[in-house]
């Protein structure tokens, strides 16, 4: 008997944010990340028969997504010439030489290690979020990650402000517990 079962009806609720976060930290383009996640789900649907149940659904979907991201970069690289033209070279005489400075690594810029660590932390946050009740997860995401105003969330989810703060309190406590176990 397989260790894991597949249920595409729950994919959007359970994995869309996790996959989106995973993708955007690698492609850095919101629209493209949405397309890749959508393509991943559709490809998952098509190849559902191949799911053996050895790995979890999420791991299986991530493996599809990784291939999609690689394909995306292959496609970009095949258009490399176009990409090079996009580099803005300023040939204004007054600022001659500035372009070189612009291309020197910024010491305050993120290192590859920082980026990797942030991506892992982002994944840990989404793993913890997936363990919360749906409403808590939604409110936490809207308030903490999307930085929505309290009023907007209340209108969107049809809850009162005091309700929102109770939910936020529970979500934050659960998130801190989960992250302490898994990350901090």
């Amino acid at each position: 008997m397989p260790k894991h079962e597949i249920n595409p009806n729950k994919w959007i609720d359970l994995y869309s944010d996790y996959l989106f976060n995973y993708t955007i930290s690698r492609v850095n383009d919101r629209e493209m990340a949405q397309d890749l996640v959508s393509e991943t789900f559709l490809a998952g649907l098509k190849s559902m028969k191949n799911f053996k149940g050895d790995a979890s659904e999420r791991t299986w979907l991530i493996s599809i997504l990784k291939r999609k991201i690689i394909d995306y970069y292959r496609k970009i690289n095949s258009n490399k010439g176009k990409a090079e033209v996009r580099i803005g070279y300023n040939d204004d005489a007054e600022s001659e030489g500035d372009w070189l400075e612009e291309r020197v690594a910024d010491p305050f810029d993120k290192t590859a290690e920082d980026t990797l660590q942030n991506a892992e932390l982002g994944n840990a946050i989404h793993s913890c979020l997936s363990k919360l009740p749906q409403k808590q997860a939604d409110v936490f995401k809207m308030k903490t990650i999307l930085n929505y105003e309290t009023e907007v969330i209340c209108n969107e989810l049809n809850i009162t402000a005091s309700n929102l703060w109770v939910i936020i309190h529970r979500a934050r406590t659960a998130m801190a517990d989960c992250l302490e176990k898994n990350w901090l």
Binding site: P8, N9, W11, I12, S16, D17, F20, N21, I24, S25, R30, A33, Q34, V37, S38, F41, L42, L45, M48, N118, L121, G122, A124, I125, H126, K141, M142, K143, T144, I145, L146, T150, E156, W165, I168, H169, R172, M175, A176, L179, W183, L184
Partner: protein, 84 residues
């Protein structure tokens, strides 16, 4: 019992602490919280942990779909799912 102007309950302190993480606590609320923080270990612990969580989430640059994006994704997926 008459409610004190300066001294707040632990639950109220936690509530203000949550609001402060989103810059939604007023100066007066922050003052009351800082009074409570001077003598209450539970509030101190909660405050420290809550601040740490905010810092961690911010530094992760975690992203998620907004409701509209999610709805669009769901619609597209459900359309395909109905064919299976």
């Amino acid at each position: 019992m008459k409610k004190s102007v300066f001294f707040i309950s632990c639950d109220e302190a936690k509530h203000i602490c949550d609001k402060a993480q989103y810059d939604e606590a007023s100066s007066w609320e922050k003052f009351k919280l800082s009074v409570r923080l001077m003598y209450c270990n539970v509030t101190q612990k909660y405050y420290k942990r809550n601040k740490k969580l905010t810092k961690v989430v911010k530094s992760s640059n975690a992203e998620c779909l907004n409701p509209k994006e999610r709805e669009a994704l769901e619609m597209k997926f459900k359309k395909e799912l109905s064919k299976h």
